[in-house]
């Protein structure tokens, strides 16, 4: 549509054409349908990866166009990305801890995850009547 002229331009803010907004809206709707449809396909453990990739693409559309980061002062984008960076650090260090502490001193068993305990109990239960010739792994 009519690009609001002179002073808008002079003050450096960018009025985006309407088709950008409706295009992004369409993309977001399509990606919502995609994420629901993909969830009904049997993708196993990669389902979460696909769901997150779709969500990240949607988030990028919102941030770049609706939030104008693509056209904005780069410094605002840096602030946004820095929070994402620290979010990733937060996840990374917590998961390094979570995924390693269960195996750190297994013979002492001072930290066994509850669902692992249950899984162990479940797998031991039927083995019990068979006089336990199979060596238990704990």
């Amino acid at each position: 549509m009519a690009h609001q002229t002179t002073h808008s331009e002079a003050h450096g803010h960018h009025v985006l054409p309407l088709k950008v907004y409706f295009g992004v809206y369409g993309a977001l709707l399509v990606l919502t349908v995609v994420t629901v449809m993909v969830s009904y396909m049997d993708l196993g453990s990669s389902a979460i990866v696909v769901a997150l990739v779709v969500a990240i693409v949607k988030a990028a559309f919102v941030a770049l166009y609706f939030m104008h980061l693509r056209y904005d002062d780069r410094f605002n984008g840096l602030v946004f990305l820095s929070s994402v960076l620290f979010l990733m650090l937060f996840f990374a260090f917590t998961f390094i801890d979570l995924t390693s502490r269960g195996y750190l001193i297994p013979e002492e068993g001072n930290f066994t995850l509850r669902n692992e305990q249950k899984a162990a109990q479940a797998s031991e239960a039927p083995a019990e009547p068979a006089a336990g010739e199979a060596p238990a792994h704990h």
Binding site: A2, Q4, H7, S8, H11, G12, H13, V15, L16, L18, Y21, F22, V24, Y25, L28, L29, T32, T35, V36, S39, L43, G44, A47, I48, A51, L52, V54, A55, K58, A59, V62, A63, Y65, F66, M67, D72, D73, F75, N76, V79, F80, S82, S83, V84, F86, L87, F90, F91, T94, F95, L98, T99, L113, R114, N115
Partner: protein, 219 residues
């Protein structure tokens, strides 16, 4: 700001605060401040997302089974409602940039309307969960579920509840900005409040974009 300011300082616009040199400087400072706030919001929510990830890692089967008690049609509808509200918000900011007062007010009103639709749908979802005893921690009373579903519903209610609180706050701020717009306080030279409430609203949408697949579409 106030009308009495208007004529008191001759050559600079009434909306330009004294501690800024130019209109541009004021606008970019306002937006930068909003981005700092949004960065804080992301970190604030990240703790809850991490709790989600950690407990899903601990109890994958619980998450798989408990999430089946959430309604995908309702969650998907709410996703579309929020995305639509983000569109009307973005169009509202665009109208403000171009100095179109009526359109700005109209798009802000539409955004508020969609935000209310979101909360109404959320209300029906919540009341269904309350009725079935699908509640956090010790309040959980739904029979016949394996694992630790009270943990899933604890995370569900805190994440969606905090998000819903953001929607509620958003409605309040949007109403305020809509009234200012109606009063003709904004112009192509000054529309920072519209732009900043827009940024906030898009962030609320961004968070829901992640919440929807993580809570409703566990596989």
């Amino acid at each position: 700001m106030s009308a009495s300011h208007e004529n008191a300082h001759g050559d600079h616009p009434s909306f330009l605060q004294h501690h800024f040199y130019t209109v541009e400087q004021q606008a970019s400072a306002a937006k930068f401040g909003m981005w700092l706030f949004l960065a804080q919001e992301i970190l604030f929510f990240s703790g809850l997302f991490l709790a989600y990830a950690a407990y899903r890692f601990f109890y994958p089967d619980t998450f798989l089974h408990a999430h089946e008690h959430l309604s995908v049609p309702m969650g998907a509808t709410n996703t579309v409602v929020l995305i639509t509200s983000s569109l009307t918000m973005a169009l509202g900011v665009r109208a403000a940039q171009m100095g179109e007062r009526k359109k700005t007010v109209g798009y802000l009103a539409a955004t508020i309307l969609f935000a209310c639709v979101f909360l109404v749908i959320k209300y029906f979802e919540y009341s269904h969960k309350f009725h079935d005893g699908l509640l956090p921690g010790k309040y959980f009373s739904h029979l016949g579920m394996e694992g630790e579903p009270q943990i899933f519903f604890g995370i569900y209610f805190v994440l969606t509840g905090l998000h819903g609180l953001h929607v509620l706050v958003g409605i309040g701020v949007l109403l305020w900005v809509m009234i200012l717009a109606q009063k003709g306080r904004f112009s192509p030279d000054y529309y920072s409040p519209v732009e900043n409430v827009g940024l906030y609203w898009h962030l609320v949408d961004l968070i829901w974009i992640f919440l929807f697949p993580l809570l409703y579409l566990v596989r």
